[in-house]
């Protein structure tokens, strides 16, 4: 699936995680209960931290950064092992996060 904007990439990441959780857990989707219900939830918009790249927003979860570019490119990588990149997808203009 190709995504071409920040919002499309965000929706794609969130819907993928929610589908995985719906498949593998019986815990109901209830984001207000995220701190103690045991279900995994997409990162929240208020988890944004300083980003070293232009035209990219960076969100932190406990062990990963999710970078999302204005062209829809996104990258998920481990925080303390930058070489461990889980996914690095190109955006609309075929550019990756570190090429923006």
């Amino acid at each position: 699936m190709e995504v071409s904007s920040f919002q499309e990439a965000l929706n794609h990441i969130n819907s993928t995680l929610n589908e995985v959780e719906n498949t593998y857990t019986t815990i109901p989707f209830n984001p207000s209960n995220w701190m103690n219900d045991g279900r995994m939830y997409p990162f929240q918009p208020d988890s944004e931290v300083y980003c070293e790249y232009n035209n990219v927003r960076k969100f932190r979860s406990v062990s990963h950064y999710t970078y999302i570019g204005i062209n829809g490119a996104f990258r998920i990588q481990e925080i303390f092992d930058e070489q461990n990149i889980i996914i690095d997808k190109r955006g609309k203009n075929k550019k990756k996060i570190d090429e923006l």
């Binding site: 857990t25 701190m35 279900r39 995994m40 931290v49 406990v62």
Partner: protein, 173 residues
């Protein structure tokens, strides 16, 4: 400076840490504390939600914290407890210390002698009713959930209508 940043500054200089501030005033900030080369604790703080402590953060993607705190002093005690002992597991004695209560206090509330409380704190096996009484004296209540391959479900071993603590805490949270 936000409250988590202050906690980071107050940690001993010898403790390796990493503080990451939210871009917004009401967003989530993070503090990572390194216990050694391959173990860390992660703490998130959101002004609306409180503090989440991840005991084994490297096994986690998108899941909630292992422990939740709404009081910075208690979290501070918990962090120091882990740094001092390098033990992440918590005993009922540790719970009492986190709550800032003494054995005498528990003894007074439960009507049991202090030696009994001391003995209980060193046991690894006790009746659920005894545990409930102890936790209740600390001001808390117990929830028990069971987990199977195909489902997770809370079980009701205690009559919830009996728990004044539960009603009061649910009102406060």
């Amino acid at each position: 400076m936000n409250r988590l940043e202050q906690l980071a500054i107050d940690l001993p200089k010898s403790v390796k840490k990493n503080f990451e501030k939210s871009l917004t005033e009401d967003g989530t900030s993070w503090l990572d504390i390194f216990l050694n080369n391959d173990q860390r604790l992660a703490i998130e703080w959101n002004p609306r939600l409180g503090y989440g402590l991840y005991i084994n953060p490297d096994n986690s993607f998108g899941s909630g914290p292992d422990e939740v705190y709404r009081n910075l002093d208690i979290l501070d005690r918990r962090i120091k407890m882990i740094l001092d002992t390098r033990q992440k597991e918590i005993s009922i004695k540790d719970l009492r210390k986190l709550s800032g209560k003494t054995q005498s206090f528990i003894s007074e509330v439960t009507g049991k002698g202090q030696p009994s409380i001391s003995k209980l704190e060193n046991q690894r096996d006790f009746q659920l009713s005894t545990l409930e009484e102890y936790i209740s004296a600390l001001g808390g209540y117990i929830n028990i959930s069971v987990h199977f391959k195909d489902f997770d479900i809370p079980i009701d071993l205690f009559d919830p209508t009996d728990s004044t603590n539960k009603k009061e805490l649910e009102k406060e949270i």
